[in-house]
Symmetry: C2
Subunit: 203 residues, 2 copies
């Protein structure tokens, strides 16, 4: 990048993704949590963020709270808008990973194609697909946000698991069965994976 101003050559430095990883002592990756509403994605995301923070690592959670009311507030729930919702999230997650941040996304993201597109944006090994698995009956039983009740009553249309499909990952990096594991066990699984892959240093 070079421009000339009053005969002074302007030439700027170049910092790479690797440089930022060195600074942060971690790899920039996307940890993509997918699963039914109520499976525990957001809770796992927040607890993982907390544990990483306590270890001195920078992570950031992208979820409905900070995306739907901001970047994607001009999107609805039509099939095209749902697709565009996940596409934008994927692109933002890519930027965060490029910045060196351990990026955790917590969205139902029910379609394989959308998740595969997210994976394609990232270099090999930088996309960690995590299936947060829980039987529909259990999610519906928990019904933390009361959404299943509304979906059954027909007040919410095309609700994943009830009136819209969920396509489980075929070959995810991790499966976390929240019907069997505690929150601590779930997050330990993730931390072990990140350690093994050299994304964070062994603690």
């Amino acid at each position: 990048m070079e421009i000339k101003a009053t005969n002074i050559t302007w030439h700027a430095g170049v910092i790479t993704a690797e440089d930022r990883e060195k600074l942060l002592k971690q790899k920039g990756v996307v940890i993509w949590l997918t699963g039914l509403s109520g499976a525990g994605k957001s809770t796992i995301a927040r607890e993982l963020e907390k544990r990483l923070y306590d270890m001195g690592h920078l992570s950031y959670v992208l979820d409905g709270d900070n995306i739907r009311h901001g970047l994607n507030r001009n999107l609805g729930f039509s099939p095209e808008d749902r697709k565009e919702n996940i596409r934008r999230i994927s692109e933002v997650a890519k930027l965060f990973a490029d910045a060196g941040v351990i990026t955790i996304t917590a969205f139902i993201s029910p379609y394989r194609e959308d998740r595969d597109n997210a994976r394609k944006l990232l270099p090999e090994g930088k996309f960690v697909e995590v299936y947060v698995k829980c039987p529909l009956e259990k999610c519906e039983e928990r019904d933390v946000k009361g959404l299943y009740k509304k979906a059954r009553a027909g007040e919410i249309k095309e609700f994943t698991g009830i009136s819209a499909p969920y396509e489980p990952p075929v070959n995810p990096e991790l499966v976390i069965d929240t019907d069997k594991l505690s929150l601590d066990e779930s997050v330990e699984m993730l931390l072990n994976y990140l350690n093994q892959k050299g994304i964070i240093a062994a603690n």
Copy 2:
């Protein structure tokens, strides 16, 4: 955030923007560079990033290179699309600042209203508007990317400064006159500002 799984209460930790700022020893802010094509925005952004890196600070540049071919690749150059382009960039910059990153945006962003909307997304003091000022004649003389030539030939429609307006900031935090300052002097101005405001510690 609380859910129950097999009688185990799930309750996740909460990490705040302030926590991340403590970890990174810096404030998460948006440094919004605005100015004509060829004024030096990208070069200043990259050099500022380099200088911050050498001081141990994490910054990230959002510019045409990583936005137009990614997040905003489904946008054209109609007035609505230009507005949506800047809106999405503003929302992403907000997320980066929330993550604790010194976020540097380098877009012409010719309209006051769009920049003011970006400012409104951020807490007081976290939006630093920087007018990268350079006379049109100088930008056109440099014409690094050959765009002015094309604009004059009518090959590019609605080109800022030629066939579309540029609205200079009314009350920017900084004005950098790249027709008079060297790149080093320009970046020093920015670093001094960040120091004075406690965004980075004095070096």
